[in-house]
Structures are given as structure tokens and as C-alpha cells.
Subunit: 117 residues, 2 copies
Amino acid sequence: MEDRGFDVQGFARDIHELLVLATLRDEAKHGYQIALDVETDSNGLFRFRHGTLYPILHRLEDEGLVRGSWSKGGGRRKKVYVLTGAGRRHLSGETTRVGEIVSRLMELLRRPGEVPA
Amino acid sequence: MEDRGFDVQGFARDIHELLVLATLRDEAKHGYQIALDVETDSNGLFRFRHGTLYPILHRLEDEGLVRGSWSKGGGRRKKVYVLTGAGRRHLSGETTRVGEIVSRLMELLRRPGEVPA
DNA sequence: GCCATACATATCGTCAGTCGATATATAGAG
DNA sequence: CTCTATATATCGACTGACGATATGTATGGC
């Protein structure tokens, strides 16, 4: 089992994508709000620069994991994103997968040295 | 506490570096062996392409976390790496730090949606 | 009414780092 | 003697984050 190798580069990208999907789990939000919420929810540990956030949002939209629509209500123009069914499944599946990977990683890193006699 | 933000790019790099340092924890090894061991120990989940491994090894050497020396024994020429004191401290400290980050990450990803009534 | 600031989205150039390919060389097997 | 596995190294292409820059709108202070 566990045949597909592990792609470090894709892993870093996934973290960003999953943080976005997770914050959209309960309610639709526009980009700027996503950035603020992720930062707040993680006590400042995770944060998005806008030069990073918007490309990710566009990518997620292209992949059909979120759907964006311009809110025309009498405020500032905002593009509001909602999680699609595929997005919800992706979040769930990838969260499990990432959880397994990090658990294996930490296991390797924390494995105590063969106790020196 | 926990002020320094989280750098996704550096995180991916750290994973590779820590895997190398971890496999050197108990015994000195040369590069090729490191790649084989990491792959074996992780059941093929983590693996190094040699185009990735050697630059990492050189970087770790530059940073003083490992020390490499050419073995002149009557075999194939090998550059054997040993973990330095700084390397051991780095492994320990960064493992803790990475552990905290992933634990916070999984917490955010797994946080169940506000339970729908 | 005017201006500064915060909100809001978007793109571009740069840089870091992985990845695949390529190069070089030696030991051991058949 | 050739082929494969071992062993290290580097280069070019690609990917993706990041900082800077651009554009525009609403809001609050004066």
C-alpha cells in the first residue's frame, strides 16, 4: 500500500489550498476575508500575502473546488467564494491524507536514536 | 509567543533537511545510503531524487549541521556525513517546531464545521 | 467637498527549491 | 569485457511563493 510517492512541492501548495477550503467550510467568504480569518483562526501562525492568495483562489476555481461570484450588493465589489461538493470532498480526503503523511513524518523525526548503551 | 510567521516554502525545505538529519541521528552515512534509508524507513513514502539530495547535503554542510569526509577505505569513493552538535540541536528544535505547526494545522483542517442544527 | 486610509482584487518580476536529465567514475556480476 | 548498481555532482526547466506595484471603491476626518 501507499504507492504514490510524496511530493514535497505539492505538499506545501496543498497546505495553502486546504487552509482556504477549511475556512470556507462553514460560510462563503470573499478573498480578503479569507486571508483575515485564516490569520485570526491560527493566531497569526498561518497567513496569506495577497500575491499568494489570489492565484490560489483562481486555481481552486479552475479546479472546481470553489465557485466564485461577484456580489453586486451595494458595497464594495467583492468576489465571494463558496465551497463546491467537489471542494468539500477534496478537503475531507486531503485532510486525511495530509494527516497520515505528517503523522508518519513526525514518527520518523521523533523516533529516538537507538539508545546508546 | 509564536511570533515568526510561517513560511510555506521554508517548510517544504525543512522537511527534506530534517529527514536527512534524522536518518543520520544514529549512524554516519554517505549520501546514497541516506536516500535508500529514508525511502526504506518510510516505506517508500518519502524519497529523495539525487538531483535534490546532494544540494541539500551541501547546504547542510555549509550550515555546519553535518560534516562530510571522503572515506578512503578500499571501496568506492564515498562522502560520509556525520551529524554535528549543532545538527543534533537543530534536529531536536526544529522537530518540536514542526510538530507544533502541523498539530495546529491539523487542528484547523479537522475542526468540524459549526454543527448544522 | 476633499483627502487619507482601509478595503478589495489582480498581476508581474524575482527568487528559491524541486525534479529530471545528463555526466562521470568505479566495483562487481555474468 | 560488458552491463548494471553504486556513488557523487551539476545544469536547465519548471513550479510556486513573495514583494512590489497597479487599480479602484467606500469610509471617516477635517
